[in-house]
């Protein structure tokens, strides 16, 4: 299993309100899986994705990714773990507007200390993989939403992570662009990357091989967990 969640609960404060986003969630995801986390708005999907991505830790329970328990990592360990083991794609793309597409893709490699020449070559290869080799020198404002999301995917793949997490990746895209993006996800998965994405759209969730449905912070249907 690449991901194991055991009895995960997550509480936090939002403004003056205490929120319990997840309540006793347990499931596992196999290496090479292609899973969608679905559910209505506010059901805890993004919170779960943050826990899987080691940007957050559970209030109780455990999350283990690639054999490492996220709650026992220091901030630095978690950062390095994310850098090398996890790729993130966000709904709003979050490309750095002052960098070109190729520079955005290079960023995680620069953080990992990859030599300039090597990272420039790999960034070009990744842009080619997502079908944007002719847009390498463009800044995000010069790209369409779909193109920006493809650059964000190339960036997420920069350090060849075994796990790719995406939060509403088609949320800001029209139906056709969203569909082509899901095709790209399918290709990525076939090429060996484990993919977990969050969506509230059942149609989009249908592109995944497996669906993890949440409601009010709980799993709707029991999921297979680690033996």
């Amino acid at each position: 299993m690449i991901i194991e969640c055991t009895d995960v609960t997550r509480r936090y404060t939002m403004g003056e309100r205490d929120v319990t986003a997840l309540r006793g969630v347990s499931f596992g995801i196999e290496q090479g899986d292609f899973a969608a986390i679905t559910g209505p708005s506010g059901c805890g999907k993004s919170t779960l994705l943050h826990l899987l991505g080691a940007v957050d830790v559970p209030s109780t329970g455990t999350v283990t990714v690639s054999g490492r328990r996220t709650s026992s990592m220091s901030d630095r360990e978690a950062t390095d773990f994310r850098l090398r083991h996890i790729g993130f794609v966000f709904q709003r793309f979050y490309l750095l507007p002052t960098l070109t597409a190729v520079e955005n893709v290079e960023l995680p490699m620069a953080e990992a200390g990859v030599a300039r020449g090597v990272r420039r070559t790999r960034a070009a290869e990744l842009l080619d993989y997502v079908g944007l080799s002719d847009r390498a020198g463009h800044r995000p404002t010069q790209l369409s939403g779909g193109e920006q999301q493809r650059v964000a995917i190339a960036r997420a793949l920069a350090n060849a992570p075994p796990l790719l997490l995406a939060d509403e990746p088609t949320g800001e895209l029209d139906a056709d662009t969203g569909a082509s993006l899901l095709e790209l996800f399918g290709r990525l998965n076939r090429d060996g990357t484990t993919l977990v994405f969050v969506t509230h759209d059942p149609v989009v969730a249908g592109a995944a091989r497996r669906v993890i449905a949440l409601r009010d912070g709980r799993l709707v249907t029991p999921q297979p967990t680690a033996p």
Binding site: S46, V55, D75, T79, R82, Y94, L99, A112, N159
Partner: protein
């Protein structure tokens, strides 16, 4: 990459960055000017006193140079003793007086009687200097006021620009000077013809004051027998030139010449610094204010930039950018902002200091060679270091906030926002 990102962040909002840099430049210029002002006056005074290398001023007992009309009697013996001392390299006696002037728009002028070969009061800027052999013209003083210039008796003099301008004279003119109008002296009037041989810049005399330098012997003759062996002060150069040698020479003079007071340049500077402490305090307060303004400008702009980029920073952290890298990048932004502002501020500071110096130097009563703002690399380095430290500290808090941002919470808030 870090530098590229920091630069890119600053250029994202060009107008805002330019305005902030301009603000920092103004604050830097003000700080540089205040540092220059705080140190410039005493540096300028020191440089003024040491213009010709004389580190000791010898005045009548209990007085400061030209602080009163008191003179030193028996000056020849004192000057001879000083010149004979192995502690002293050179002595320049000076006798000051006010003489009336005929055939001029000036009614009177301050006159310095000097020995041209050793004088340390002026430098000739145009024309000729005084003759090197002063005693040759001692006979010039004549009884009475029947002064028709006679070529043989004409004394050469060096005058200030103010003398030429206010008297309506040119180099080469011959004028008539007279003494003995002082009721206290009850001296018989004496006159002499003076040919204006040259124009000089007098170091210790205000630029707007008409002044004339004449040979010491001639001035003594003009003032009459009472002044035959008198001087107002003497300047002396101690052998070695270091503060220990100067102090030894000063102590020796104090011990062997009971009728005079010897003041070293350092002592004079200390006395002046005490009088200038108000200026220094003002400069320090204004400097501190400008430093505070620079700090707030950098801090505000970097905080604003960090707040605007919360989502971006959270994403960078999520994709694996370390806390330290965010801290360094944000601080680099502050430093780049400060650095550019400081560079522009140094240039602006030098220009405004020159302009302000020109205005302040026009204050009446200031020596012509006195400056309020003196450029020194030391002042610039001090101001730059202060500003860089301030800029670094100003960026530190927002940088720390950016680096310590809880990633999940920031992402959540961004998603909600």
């Amino acid at each position: 990459m870090r530098f590229t990102l920091a630069l890119a962040t600053l250029t994202r909002h060009r107008a805002r960055t330019i305005l902030a840099v301009a603000g920092i430049a103004v604050a830097s210029a003000l700080l540089l000017d205040m540092v220059m002002l705080a140190t410039g006056m005493s540096d300028s005074f020191r440089s003024l006193l040491l213009t010709r290398g004389y580190q000791l001023r010898i005045a009548p007992k209990g007085t400061l140079p030209f602080d009163s009309e008191a003179t030193i009697d028996g000056a020849s013996a004192i000057v001879a003793a000083l010149r004979a001392s192995p502690r002293i390299v050179q002595v320049s006696p000076v006798l000051g007086a006010t003489l009336t002037i005929d055939s001029s728009r000036l009614a009177s002028s301050f006159v310095l009687g000097l020995e041209a070969a050793v004088q340390g009061d002026y430098t000739v800027e145009e024309g000729r200097d005084l003759p090197a052999a002063p005693n040759a013209l001692a006979k010039n003083g004549r009884e009475g006021r029947t002064s028709v210039p006679n070529d043989i008796d004409v004394i050469d003099g060096v005058v200030s620009s103010a003398f030429l301008e206010r008297g309506g004279h040119r180099i080469g003119d011959t004028i008539s000077v007279a003494s003995g109008v002082d009721a206290q002296l009850r001296a018989v009037s004496r006159t002499a013809s003076v040919r204006i041989a040259g124009r000089g810049r007098f170091f210790y005399i205000p630029a707007e004051t008409p002044v004339m330098a004449l040979p010491l012997a001639s001035v003594r003759s003009l003032l009459g027998p009472r002044y035959t062996d008198r001087i107002s002060l003497a300047m002396a150069e101690a052998r070695g030139g270091d503060s220990v040698s100067v102090e030894e020479a000063r102590a020796w003079i104090a011990r062997t010449q009971p009728r005079v007071t010897a003041i070293s340049t350092e002592t004079a500077i200390r006395q002046v610094e005490e009088r200038l402490s108000y200026f220094r305090q003002l400069a320090l307060v204004l400097g501190a204010i400008s430093l505070g303004i620079g700090f707030l400008l950098v801090s505000t702009l970097v905080t604003l930039s960090v707040n605007e980029r919360r989502g971006e920073i959270a994403v960078m952290r999520a994709i694996g950018t370390r806390k330290g890298a965010i801290l360094r990048q944000t601080m680099l932004e502050g430093l780049m902002l400060s650095g550019t502002g400081i560079a522009a501020g140094l240039l602006l500071g030098v220009l405004t200091a020159r302009w302000l110096n020109t205005i302040l130097r026009d204050f009446p009563g200031l020596p012509a060679s006195f400056d309020f703002f003196v450029w020194s690399a030391d002042a610039a380095v001090r101001a730059t270091l202060l500003l860089l430290v301030s800029g670094t500290l100003a960026g530190l808090l927002p940088a720390w906030r950016a680096a310590s941002m809880p990633v999940a919470r920031a992402l959540r808030e961004e998603a909600v926002g």
